[in-house]
Symmetry: C2
Subunit: 197 residues, 2 copies
């Protein structure tokens, strides 16, 4: 084989979810069918690493001091939604039902992986709620994942904020739209029953 | 979001098997947890595209005129194994049973995708068998995939070579080692029965 090819296969394995077989397939594909795509990807990687940073207010990725969502004057400053990732934020945005501000943790509490409160910007979140911008926040909506780690993260944030007198809500647990009850897991049905309305 | 981030997510989708969700996850991971890995990948991409080319003799990827396998004087020039990809070649090499030369098609015939004989280097293969190096080839072993396209490729090559008086063999079809007959597909069992020994 070739050293440059081996190094490319090794480098591709730093991508999440990519093992040695996928990495080989990707490398062969780029070299054989899409060298232009490979150069394009190299440029995009360098550009992104050089230019993308965290929004000073909500912690999401942006190229500016303040991201577009935080800079948008039409949004409700009284609502602050806490999500784990920009992808979660994007999912909520696509629903079109939320017009408040965001705080993006860029992770979740995970003691087993060594991710503690300081790694997910909780101090920044508290600082934001205490500063000028936070003076008007009426409600913090916790939209972390409904997994063990996401729930633990939501719990810790809820405790922190409630002790400071902030109103905290959580997205509802329940049966997903379009599902047949027969195929929904028992924990979900139990929650949906308890929170019936 | 950010233009550089959007462009990175778009560029990552040029990798085979990567859609918009995986690409987003990869981009967030690199920016949040592994910017060094992103730079490293960018370098590896450029290095590989600049340095890797096709071996003059077997058509596989290499950085030199002739790849290591073709340059190895200890290999049997009388055997030539035809495989679809460097990954297939590597799989055969790991078995340790084959000590001849290779010819790597870098693809397979696929009329539906517009891949014809000229795209998989069949002329180069014929040229090789006719040239000085080919004078001593006793047997060509066809080791293309046992899929419809791989079988068609093997068939076309076999016809070409047999008409030129070259001995052509194909890897045996049969029951995989370690399998219980109950779970093996019928076509495989039928082939294993026909080729029993």
């Amino acid at each position: 084989m070739s050293r440059a090819l081996d190094q490319l296969i090794a480098a591709l394995q730093r991508l999440p979810g990519v093992g040695v077989k996928s990495a080989s397939r990707m490398a062969y594909h780029l070299l054989q069918h899409d060298p232009q795509g490979a150069r394009h990807l190299a440029d995009a990687l360098v550009q992104a690493v050089d230019q993308v940073r965290h929004c000073q207010r909500c912690h999401t990725f942006t190229q500016d001091e303040i991201c577009d969502t935080c800079a948008d004057p039409a949004r409700d400053d009284g609502l602050l939604c806490v999500v784990e990732t920009p992808a979660d934020q994007a999912a909520l945005e696509r629903t079109g039902v939320y017009r408040g501000r965001y705080f993006v943790l860029m992770g979740k509490l995970s003691p087993l992986s060594g991710v503690g409160p300081s790694d997910i910007g909780l101090e920044k979140l508290l600082h934001r709620l205490q500063g000028d911008a936070g003076a008007v926040v009426r409600e913090v909506v916790l939209a972390t994942s409904f997994t063990a780690e996401g729930e633990a993260t939501a719990h810790v944030i809820a405790q922190l904020l409630k002790s400071r007198g902030v109103k905290v809500t959580r997205l509802a647990r329940g049966v997903p739209v379009g599902s047949e009850l027969e195929y929904v897991d028992l924990g979900t049905i139990a929650h949906a029953y308890a929170d019936r309305r």
